[in-house]
Symmetry: D2
Subunit: 346 residues, 4 copies
């Protein structure tokens, strides 16, 4: 189903090459001031064609709000919105009408639905995340008004990892907070693009200001819901919290977060190996997680595949594609975090 959340929900629709994308934000509290320029600014961060390391597809991605607001303030009724599609080269995809692109959703959609909109990936296109960014932008403003901040940044691109935190991630094209690593990441992406190849990476997410007590103890653990939110983003193949996989290689005596009392009387932990969540519920420390993205599957080179009748074929993608999805995925990660938290807090 295409609805995210339980109490504050986002329902989205739209194919890459249809008339428009859009969505409905439901359950949003009333009387919240929303700066629509900031909503558009979030979309601009995800926009294709924003820099030389992203796809050449150039979409304006203007959001139009259709309901749920009165004089700049939410009314509590559902917020409908659309983003018209304007820059489509559907002809680029004719070759793919009967040929499955490897590691794309072409084959699995065909198996599930018996039909697929092959133009630009249809519904499976990462273009659908634009609607998520709109939903997340509303939620981010709601959360900020409650003192909660969400920040994601590129942690690694291929084998290159950030190790220091010396700049605003928005200050470079790759959205990394390590300025030296950022230079090398950009170089790697450009070189990869020249080869017609693609490269994966990891995004780090940090949520601050979240009060203790958020999350549900069993199936709706905060980590389960955040994890599912991130795993619903195209190309995500792994998530981890706090020390994550590395922590599993250690002893309890190295990993427990002992309690202490801060000067102001707040109970906090001296370390944050658990990433701000214990028993599925926030403990007041920053929530920290990492999200692994596989390399984009569209290579601008020959790949072996089969047609929908099972005949061997060679595909050479044209179209306009990102050599590395990570920089543009940073606002998508933030949006999914904002949607998840707003749903819990509502």
């Amino acid at each position: 189903m295409n609805t995210f959340g339980r109490n504050l929900t986002l329902t989205t629709f739209g194919e890459s090459h249809g008339p428009a994308l859009g969505g409905v934000i439901d359950g949003f509290p009333s009387r919240i001031e929303i700066d629509l320029n900031r909503v558009q600014a979030e979309l601009d961060r995800r926009r294709p064609g924003q820099s030389r390391i992203t796809t050449g597809r150039n979409e304006a991605d203007r959001v139009r709000i259709l309901s749920g607001m009165l004089n700049g303030v939410t009314t509590g009724t559902p917020i409908g919105f659309i983003i018209e599609n304007t820059n489509q080269h559907s002809a680029d995809y004719e070759e793919m009408a009967h040929t499955f692109r490897p590691s794309h959703a072409d084959f699995t959609y065909q198996q599930k639905y018996g039909i697929r909109d092959y133009r630009g990936g249809g519904r499976a296109s990462a273009r659908e995340t634009a609607a998520r960014v709109v939903g997340g932008a509303f939620c981010r403003q709601l959360l900020e008004q409650r003192g909660i901040s969400i920040g994601a940044r590129t942690q690694s691109v291929g084998p290159i990892s950030a190790t220091v935190d010396d700049c605003d991630p928005e200050s470079n094209l790759v959205r990394c907070s390590d300025s030296a690593a950022a230079v090398r990441m950009i170089e790697l992406i450009e070189e990869t693009k020249r080869r017609g190849d693609t490269v994966g990476g990891v995004i780090a997410l940090r949520i601050t200001g979240l009060p203790a007590g958020i999350g549900d103890p069993l199936f709706d653990r905060l980590n389960a819901r955040l994890g599912a939110a991130m795993l619903s983003i195209p190309a995500v193949k792994g998530v981890e919290f706090g020390m994550g996989f590395e922590g599993s290689r250690h002893f309890g005596s190295e990993m427990i977060d002992e309690f202490t009392t801060a000067a102001d009387g707040t109970i906090e932990t001296t370390t944050n190996h658990s990433g701000g969540i214990q028993g599925g519920i926030s403990n007041g420390m920053p929530v920290e997680m990492r999200i692994a993205f596989k390399p984009v599957a569209t290579l601008l080179r020959d790949v072996n595949t089969v047609t929908d009748t099972g005949k061997a074929a060679i595909l050479h993608a044209r179209g306009r594609h990102d050599p590395c999805v990570v920089p543009r995925a940073v606002p998508v990660v933030e949006a999914m975090a904002a949607l998840t938290l707003a749903d819990f807090l509502k």
Copy 2:
């Protein structure tokens, strides 16, 4: 909320030291033969006190089915069940009534609910997973009747990883398919236990026989739902699919799974880097994922903490605890996978 799933659901209840645990399986198809001995056998695999590397707490964990079956066959009505608690040493926990155990859910429950059942961790005890195992055992039998098999095994304990696959994981105490690694894992757990410490690990899950086309394209991706299922298990701090985090360090040309046509005409992939899921939907290849468990937080040694009034305190846990949760978590991982798949397939 304490319900898992949408169409085929499991709702559970019960505290570690209350009268009983239990649950309700709803939406289970009618006229499915269920072998209740096999349901009990799954519970026995999770049972405390099953071996020298698990907790000494010895619970019979007998399941009693209260509804939904007639002459060994399901009727389509909800299947209610309970497991009586029999071997409780609540006195072990008096010390913890006002002291928060580090990296446990004591503090977060108190923050969320303003009250907590401190005896044995109450609802936050991993003991609640017994109810999941019952639900999973029903679903496993349903899935088997459709040709789908679910198998989990211990991939690593602390720094020791399995590298070969030379034995039935059920043939050793640690449930590892690498017999030599299993010996070293067991030694490490025993030694860790002697030191009053604990150790983490990773479980690998493999699902075979799943047809292509299972999963939903957007928020209910098969990987998102499986990921959330695993992240809802106590102590899980990370999940990954196929090449996962390692795959994010590579190029697309190394990671795509090219298509080919098998002798019988089936379209399959020559590699399985994506772990059997593309675009959130199964592609007919085995689903492969790994789940990271942090070390158990209960150390049988002094730890620094605070009381519920914020006073510094030293806690020395007594009780009976697992030095490594991984071997007993193997059937829980399988149960959550079975519940997730049965919900999709129903």
Copy 3:
């Protein structure tokens, strides 16, 4: 599915002639004092065998709480409970194993599930409402602590209607607030029973103390949710709010509820034709609705029917049955109202 509600839910299980009925109350707030004697007292109001105008089946219907409470107070975790079945005459039903009772769910269950537990109606027995009464009894205490009262009473039995309100409905066997009508209703039920026949009736429900602003404007209107709650009770064939069907025969000028301001400044209406709900949301006036019950379908006389192979048959029910379901349905109506409101208020 067998779960009622969204935020505060009740999931139930159990067949009439199985080992036990039960349920799980989830999402119930923490730190609410619950008097379990009052929970049992509600069950006693619904209990079979409570008077000469109800079924002779005599069940103790003792509820056993299994989780979610600590020292008389809720903890916020799910409240599991069971009611053992003790007085079953399954042999009474052997004749019905292959014969469909007219206007019962035998045929429709068989069509839906391909199997049914024919003993005592199985899951379709009104006995399942015992679990609803337990859930409702918890919610009623929660609502009372917020100043909300729920009261149902018998409005009519067959052609006999209450016209005045001169006694406590609990003061007579038929639970009617018109003492003279009550006498005639009881006589009608007894005479109907002697003839082996049954009779229908109407229950009136009144909710007071509900603040304005409860309910959702579109699909989860307060009236839609209350209506569905009542229509989910066995034998209910109609619901209406305020002036209901009668109001549809009138002009707007006769039906609108004009506003006025009370001495204390509260905005209220001078009439209550709308039954306390406008636009799906409570307006602070008493919520008033009526619920129509068909006559019980089990007649202690010959009826024409068919077997499960379609052969004509004559059925003569034995078993022990209510000649009029309405008196025992009064606490069930109250329970469903309490569950609905608690779900909205939570």
Copy 4:
């Protein structure tokens, strides 16, 4: 929340005087041919300004489909659509910015949200049902392809009831199948309009071709879900099935539906007092229900009310309103029935 259904859902948005209404149909099966002209034709049946007995507000109500279809066939992905608002006289409503219209949702919205879009009723306007009609029109075509027909007609207007069935309800302005009654109903509506008054009525719904076995036995009974669907339509104050309230005045011996076997071997009932539903599940006979609408609350005459500060006021509505909502509600009733059934059948 603004989503209807569980497996096949409709999510709607939009205010009466905002830029547009719209919705998302999710979970709709793939490869279903949809005639969009018929979707528009359903909207035209609901359209304001369609005849002399409806409101003078004249909206084109053109639906624009934004996603989920390819070459006239559904793809299984969500179907997004919008209907632009074009003919708004917002100035008509300035007087109501601070005055509550009696028996409207003005006061209850204000209580719930602390804000309301007062122009034309905002979200509470029956105009939102246009989105339901679009959703229902898709579902109707799906159901027809499975042999299921849905037909509603006006049963009564004020005190005038249909008694015979001698014409196509679409052949007269009031959508009544009794041609003589239709003439009198139209006269009554016109006369009522001249007086600035409004009048209520009842719609009868009949569903044929529904196979036995549809519906869930407990809380999601077919009658509970159909009832809630109808009670979610603005102005509905009651619903009943089969013999409904009248049946509650009778004896079981008069009301049971005995079984018989048809010539073709089908098991059916000789009467249909239960309206096609037993135990919450369809029995293969026509589903029959009636839905009561209160008179529209907007009178074109002076009414007593209060302002939002509680001051007494007299309101004299202008705007353009229906003197009787029933004729235009017929397609809305059908749409809600189609949405409910498609959700069950999916």
